[in-house]
Symmetry: C2
Subunit: 375 residues, 2 copies
């Protein structure tokens, strides 16, 4: 916490802050990426990081040092952005939207494009593609979001055949996102989910191999499983995304240590209420996103941390953002009377992917501006 | 619901939709604005609409027809945008952030600028302003966000004196946002909160008049109170914002009818799961915001509606968005088997202010592109 007047040298990161800024600690990003790339290599699985978290060509460059097999993104616009930045193998990890078939065909002419099928309905659209694509069948292994239900074995096998008929090429693989790992509640249960998912996917891959002659690849990827499981073998590729920054949700799951979190929002203090034990920040849902998590029995939007030097420091588990409106946050802090209007604090958000999405660029803690893709 | 292939004439609004788009029904906006402007005029209170909801000069033009006393915004950037669009009286309805004093002084040279003080700490910063400003003391009348506690009468009176000392002009007024009206639970209780707030603010205005000689103005404004109270007299100005679009939260409070909601997000259907009674949409937290509300005992992110013709239609209370990730939504629908991948549905969001913030422009249901301010 700082008591100095604005812009004194002691403020470090905070010195230039006048309004909420999305700060990124590139050294932490580098360490997070290296750790995951090494684990994938050790496990002998392809590394296809999901770039929806950072959406930045500059941060993508850090991954490139580890020669990823390719990348995943979540929209054709994001795919175009990274194709322009030189990425040549891109999976759009969202079920095929037939309304985008022209945009997708154009992309398929520029890069090795992977598409997801969620069921037979969209398979027909594949016949209108002039350029070759790699088609993955999305499998729902328990999250209940998108994908063919994992126990619909005949449906998944039939869809693999339909992909071959529509494209003239065998299905590239089976892909799943075990997003239910976020609610697992313990590291042991996250590992249990991963084991179950790998088992289900291998069973399905074997069924498709029997029917189609060729064994489809298996792609999995969610940050909790990829962080908490030591050996990722048993699949062909992993697609984690959030680990590049981490956040308080991942901290609460146990995917990272406090000092691994590489993104925080610098927020000016605009109100101090010692009687309530609270402070108000300029920094609302439009700067942090409205995502939240359960933290020691309480619904919170993030934890505070102190700016200082040119590193992000660590979140203080006692200082919680407890309310969020459009541009205001209210935080409960251990000693509200020590804060001053005009101070700057950091908010480590609940969900870094959604926080980052609120900005057109990041500010590196070392002062550089880092552009990112914006819809 | 539609079963046609993409882009057939029957689709109306949906015809050109390939990815999530933020649709606005300008005729409904016009009706919502007219209703509120007439109520303010009838009540003989100044109308200072909060433009943080729409953040669009074009939509601001619709308000202009009713000659509002001025506008409210929530950041200096937004104030500059509307100053450029010709608005001459702007209150920044967020407690003064001393780090922005230079930007604020520049604005004060261009428009009649209103600033909020949240306590004595920021009052000193006023002395460095070269241009005159109107200073409001923010009062917390029960929300527990920002403002001086309403029962700290000596503190509020002292702050009024301090404003006069710092600026050489009496305090402009006392301002409050009764945001606790959102959780009131019934129209009657919303009216009760409004009556209590008006009572507290008049009591304080009288105390300030006694001490300072001049009676400060009273500014209130939240959409539930301004919609559910018939006669807004008893204050000097009202500052509602959300009513321009409304949303499912306002519908659940009773502030509007289903056919008043003027904003919805068009989302392509990317998955259909008759066995689960659910469909998946391309349209996630980055298109809707992660805000939610309690709807008949369930936490939801919005209601679905059918696109058709060039009006938004009404939300279907039986079709709920029950899960939201970065780019996906899952909706529970009455008859999932009637949907097809490639259909387009509308999502009426929980909170239109935060949804609108996710876009650089709106798409009018009549086809025009409407730009908006973007940080």
């Amino acid at each position: 916490m700082m008591r100095s007047s604005p812009a004194t040298p002691a403020e470090g990161i905070a010195a230039g802050i006048t309004e909420p800024e999305c700060l990124v600690d590139i050294e932490r990003v580098r360490a997070n990426v290296t750790r995951m790339a090494h684990k994938a290599a050790r496990s002998d699985v392809a590394f296809r990081p999901h770039f929806k978290t950072h959406q930045s060509a500059a941060i993508g460059g850090i991954f490139r040092e580890h020669r990823p097999a390719g990348i995943a993104v979540s929209s054709p616009g994001m795919a175009r952005y990274f194709a322009d930045a030189g990425f040549e193998d891109i999976t759009i990890a969202l079920p095929l939207n037939p309304r985008l078939i022209r945009e997708l065909d154009e992309l398929a002419g520029r890069v090795t494009l992977g598409l997801l099928l969620d069921g037979p309905a969209a398979a027909d659209a594949l016949t209108s593609l002039a350029n070759p694509v790699r088609v993955w069948v999305e499998v729902d292994t328990g999250q209940g979001r998108t994908g063919m239900a994992w126990d619909d074995v005949p449906g998944i096998v039939a869809l693999a055949g339909r992909v071959r008929a529509a494209t003239g090429r065998p299905v590239a693989g089976l892909l799943t996102h075990a997003g239910h790992s976020y609610a697992a509640g313990s590291a042991q249960r996250v590992r249990g989910i991963h084991a179950e998912v790998v088992g289900r996917m291998n069973l399905l891959a074997e069924e498709v191999r029997t029917a189609e002659g060729a064994r489809p690849l298996i792609s999995v990827g969610d940050t909790p499983c990829c962080c908490l499981v030591d050996d990722l073998s048993g699949v062909d590729e992993v697609r984690p995304g959030n680990f590049v920054f981490f956040d308080v949700t991942q901290l609460s799951i146990g995917s990272c240590a406090p000092g691994d979190i590489a993104l925080a929002v610098a927020c000016p203090v605009i109100g101090v209420y010692p009687g309530r034990g609270e402070i108000a920040l300029h920094g609302g849902a439009v700067h942090l996103s409205k995502d939240s998590l359960e933290w020691h029995g309480e619904r919170i939007f993030g934890l505070l941390g102190e700016p200082g030097g040119d590193v992000l420091g660590e979140p203080d588990p006692r200082s919680r953002v407890i309310a969020l409106s459009q541009e205001h946050a209210v935080a409960r802090v251990p000693d509200a009377g020590r804060w001053f209007v005009g101070d700057v604090t950091l908010v480590f958000p609940a969900h870094s992917c959604l926080t980052a999405e609120q900005y057109g660029s990041y500010l590196a803690v070392t002062g550089e501006r880092i552009p990112r893709y914006r819809r």
